[in-house]
């Protein structure tokens, strides 16, 4: 190990580490610009110079690239170092006056104005020529799409002949490491990098191809989005595999179908919210400040796109007035959902409180038809919201939202006072109807579970068997059955789980006795019944006399497989198959009974 002193503090590092690493160990902050842990150091920007006082060639050296040596004495902020840093920053500010990063760093170092003329060149002069992007592209990503062009002050980063590159993988890594955000790969990249909207935050911010699906994901492990990952698009990059300390990244793994024989299935596919842009009168999709309650939930959440800071999407300022519109798409006979989505009243009440936390002097309004607060302590909660002036509740529907200046004019009725009312709002939150998650129809047909015209799954019986379905062994839980809030979903989940356990904890399965039976004396052995059996429950059976020679081959029904549908009974011409419980004579009696 190498021992050295940083600002009088003893530090020990392994051989090959740089002074910067040692300084970090000693807790000394050294500014860097052209340094990035994933990229080999170059010592180009010179902002990280420190002074070797003893134990090496005295003078200023770049800590990011200079190896730590035994017995070195380093000063990270001696007067000489600070003077050099100030001059470097002044020079960089002259070169890139527009770069915020440099302005910030210069301000930190107490630089007010600079003695040099500021370069007014064309855009893109934020580049401080630190070379990180070129080194990364050549040594890490391996595409070598960009290079240095020219020498001296007019040296710039470019592609060969400044043409569009045909080797650039579009991974955007150069933009990622650029300290001043000066590089825009779209200029030269053949397959431009689209920002990938972060699905969990309703697309309000963007995410990288390798990402955590959402903060509380279980398991809380990142996944690779194959469509956008450069490795799969063009075979390049692979930086994540290099950097991953656990070596956990394996590009060859592919999705695979896992088949499990299970005793029970619980469908808990949850819900999605309806897209309110179908109602143009509310202006969702036209005005940026009209958001859905889900987007609002993400905006005020600490793990959301703006880390909990509530700002208007139009101008980034906190909204001083906010209007919540209830029943958007719910409880509507025509072009909407006739049912009540049940949870919006309560979450809107919560949202008014959250809003007041974020914008203390803000004013919230809620347009409602009637507040559905039927849960435990729900009504008290809403009453407290109204009493503590968290929000003004206006009973009535909103006819139109339109923009005037930077405000959103919300025109609606207040039926209690019987007047038209117009509120100038800075943000409008819509509470859209709940709909089952997409793909529910395919799933239900696969599981042969019924569904209504809205796509909610059908319980076996609304009152007596709410968690069962008509298909034995398939149970329901949560919003896939109908809109419901968390307490109800949890309760239903518990019920479904217990039902499933009840099903699979026995050794033998009890079932309806309605299965088919073959009258072997009259069966002709034509096996047309086998053709119509959807469960492959019918097979051949050879009848032999005592001496063993074959008399006839007749149909045989496997009780375990037969579901009792009766298709075979209807197909058998000689009426040799009967379904227990729906035998011909029973149906014959039923038909006759009707006419007595």
């Amino acid at each position: 190990m190498i021992k050295l002193t940083i600002d009088g503090q003893q530090v020990e590092v392994e051989p090959g580490r740089t002074i910067l690493d040692a300084a970090k160990l000693a807790g000394r902050e050294i500014p860097t610009l052209c340094h990035h842990p994933a990229v080999p150091p170059a010592g180009a920007c010179r902002i990280c110079v420190v002074e070797i006082v003893a134990g090496g060639r005295p003078g200023l050296v770049p800590s990011c690239a200079y190896p730590a040596q035994d017995g070195m004495e380093i000063q990270t902020c001696s007067e000489r170092v600070l003077q050099s840093r100030r001059m470097t920053l002044q020079l960089l500010l002259a070169r890139s006056p527009g770069s915020e990063v440099i302005q910030e760093m210069a301000a930190e170092h107490g630089i007010k104005e600079i003695p040099f003329p500021k370069q007014t060149g064309e855009s893109g002069d934020d580049c401080i020529m630190c070379g990180l992007c070129v080194r990364l592209c050549q040594q890490i990503v391996g595409a070598s799409a960009i290079c240095f062009d020219g020498r001296g002050p007019d040296r710039k980063v470019s592609t060969p002949y400044a043409d569009r590159s045909d080797v650039c993988l579009g991974c955007g890594a150069c933009a990622f490491v650029c300290p001043t955000g000066a590089i825009d790969p779209a200029e030269y990249c053949p397959n431009p990098i689209e920002k990938i909207p972060n699905e969990f935050n309703c697309g309000l911010d963007s995410r990288t191809p390798i990402h955590l699906p959402f903060p509380q994901a279980v398991p809380n492990k990142p996944l690779i989005d194959r469509e956008n990952c450069i490795r799969f698009k063009t075979g390049g990059c692979g930086a994540c595999a290099d950097i991953c300390p656990a070596g956990a990244i394996n590009y060859d793994m592919t999705d695979e179908f896992v088949e499990e024989d299970v005793g029970a299935i619980i469908v808990a596919t949850g819900y999605e919210i309806m897209d309110p842009s179908v109602y143009e009168e509310y202006g969702y999709g036209r005005y940026p400040d009209v958001v859905t309650s889900l987007e609002f939930e993400r905006m005020v959440s600490a793990s959301g796109p703006s880390n909990g800071e509530l700002t208007r999407l139009s101008n980034g300022k906190p909204p001083k007035s906010i209007v919540f519109l209830q029943c958007i798409g719910s409880r509507r006979e025509k072009n909407g959902k006739p049912y009540c989505s049940k949870i919006c009243c309560m979450y809107t009440a919560k949202h008014t409180i959250l809003y007041k936390h974020k914008v203390h002097d803000g004013q919230a309004f809620v347009f409602f038809m009637d507040v559905r607060a039927g849960g435990k302590n729900y009504d008290q909660f809403v009453r407290r919201v109204v009493k503590e002036k968290q929000a003004t509740y206006l009973r009535g529907r909103v006819s139109k939202v339109y923009a005037r200046g930077d405000k959103l004019m919300v025109r609606g009725a207040d039926t209690l006072s019987g007047t038209q009312i117009e509120i100038a709002a800075e943000m409008v939150v819509l509470a859209p109807a709940l709909v089952p998650s997409s793909g529910i129809r395919d799933l239900s047909q696969k599981l042969r579970v019924g569904y209504d015209e809205h796509g909610f799954l059908l319980e076996a019986h609304p009152k007596l068997r709410p968690v069962d379905t008509n298909t034995a062994g398939v149970f329901l839980a949560g919003a896939c059955h109908s809109p419901k809030d968390i307490p109800e979903s949890v309760a239903q989940a518990g019920a479904a789980a217990s039902k499933a356990l009840g099903l699979i904890c026995h050794t033998r399965l009890s079932r309806e006795p309605t299965i088919g039976i073959v009258d072997e004396s009259s069966c002709n052995g034509c096996f047309e019944c086998e053709g119509v059996c959807a469960y492959g429950a019918i097979g051949p059976r050879e009848l032999t006399d005592k001496k063993g020679n074959l008399l006839a081959t007749v149909a045989f029904i496997n009780e375990g497989l037969c579901q009792g549908c009766g298709a075979c009974a209807a197909t058998c011409r000689s009426k040799s198959i009967e379904v227990q419980g729906y035998r011909d004579d029973q149906l014959f009696a039923a038909i006759n009974a009707i006419h007595r």
């Binding site: 579901q563 298709a567 011909d584 039923a590 038909i591």
Partner: protein, 155 residues
Amino acid sequence: MIQQASDSTDNSKWQPRIVAFLCNWCSYAGADLAGMSRFAYPAAIKIVRLPCSGRVDPMFIIKSFEQGADLVLVSGCHPGDCHYTSGNYHARRKLLAFRELMTFLGIDPRRFKISWVSAAEGAKWSSLVKEITAEVIALGPFENYSKLRAGGIAE
């Protein structure tokens, strides 16, 4: 308002009689839901529950007519929804063929209806029954078959 048999036709004591064969998982549950949702529909319909529309045999329909049914309805799950996957597909082939045979033999095909009613379509079931009952009232009693019932030989 329960749709009573209107007494406009001459045989005023005639009550229309509709026999309906409903599949247990969809149409029967739909009818059940209609009841639960308090949808009213005429009582002229008499329901026979079958495991699946695929269980329906043409003999049931002929027997119903013989027993005095003025109209027979078979209702099952929408294609794709069948609890037994393909029951309603087989039924569709057989019953449509049977209706062609009735037409060919001169038996009024309007007296044999087929429908798909899912377990959630309580409203559809009640409006369907109202509609069919109105039609059968318009058609009047099923003379062709009622005569047969008397002596078996067409006089």
